[in-house]
Symmetry: C2
Subunit: 227 residues, 2 copies
């Protein structure tokens, strides 16, 4: 059943913004090791957010991301001088949107649109500005406000607080299954953008809908008719 | 400075008990894919404990371990009929101890010895009985009691409650760095058994001591003189 959605909260990294450029830069800086490095970097970035949240030891997402990069380089015995580290980190501020994002967001303009991300406010402001999406979102919400990361329910609770609509009128959209699981457990309507054609994790909950790209979300929620 | 330790709480899997037999069985059942399967299985097992803890959706460790196995098989496009799944799961109940464990525990008998693990009570009871260590531990403590997993401080708090000595008189011993980080943040004295010669994670804390095997712990804490 199509829910009575008034607002849509999007995850940022991997959902709206393609981290492919991070991977490309890893490969350029460390030929032959780039794919392994970016995979381990991402895995550790997530692991550190979960562990720090469980331990009650919040550290902002920029610092967590940099710690994860340093560990990944150590682990693969790659020397990563400060200059290269800065360049790799900075690629997080200059991501591209996925090809369909701009047109899909345009077609969903009858909804309030927001971002709900682990990213720090500075990181999110930079990537939103650099992709020209500044005017599109009424709210760019960071987990930093509650000093804990997804999949804590406290993060998903920020959407209704900021967007001014009740939880059951919010669609949460993410390409990360575990993020969908957190939002679904909290009580949001969820759309999994399964860009990588991955199997579902077994975390006791399932997304309300699964789509390949944001175009699928437009189909489900209905596009704004052209004027 | 050597602390005034009265009790030692050991992590189970990877610390006392060698999960190598799980890996061996994976390789036997899925030739050429065993290493990748056991790696992904373990990674997902941990990921599910952290995510379920953050979401407040505890499920016992047996179920989490089985869910992780099912996902790992799907993810690698491996057919895993119920019979093979049961066999793989059952290998968790029949692990060996690492070679030095029995003698090291014998040399630490002036301390109260316990296990503090994510494992369910049934899983722990089975592996302790099967390795002949039943009489060695005064307490076999499962995270199941607080329905949340490590690295939550609530799990580490169980050690003093069960072992009857204050937190600052407990040594916590684990081969998992993230587990050490959780225990250290909680306030226990920690010994990282770095069996794999891995780099330290950057989670804002460091172990009190790092050793290669439990023999190093015996050296640090002092062996019981022979009668």
């Amino acid at each position: 059943m199509k829910p009575c959605i008034q607002a849509i909260a999007f995850d940022a990294y991997g959902t709206l913004f393609d981290v492919h450029s991070v991977i490309t830069l890893c490969s350029r800086k460390f030929p032959g090791e780039g794919a392994e490095l970016s995979k381990l970097w991402r895995a550790k970035q997530l692991e550190y957010t979960w562990l720090r949240s469980l331990m009650g030891q919040y550290e902002d997402f920029w610092a967590v991301t940099e710690s994860a990069l340093i560990f990944a380089c150590h682990s693969l015995s790659l020397a990563c001088p400060t200059e290269i580290r800065r360049e790799l980190m900075s690629s997080y501020l200059h991501l591209d949107t996925f090809p369909e994002v701009n047109s899909a967001l345009g077609k969903l303009s009858q909804y309030k649109l927001g971002i709900l991300s682990n990213g720090s406010p500075k990181m999110l402001a930079a990537v939103v500005a650099n992709t020209g999406l500044k005017g599109v979102f009424t709210d760019v919400i960071s987990a930093e406000e509650v000093k804990i990361y997804k999949s804590s329910p406290r993060v998903y609770g920020l959407a209704s607080q900021h967007m001014g609509v009740p939880d059951d009128a919010i669609a949460f959209v993410s390409s990360n299954f575990w993020d969908i699981a957190g939002a679904k457990c909290f009580g949001l309507w969820t759309c999994w953008v399964n860009r990588g054609n991955l199997p579902e994790d077994d975390l006791g909950v399932r997304p309300d809908v699964t789509v390949d790209t944001l175009d699928g979300l437009v189909t489900v929620l209905g596009a704004t008719p052209l004027p």
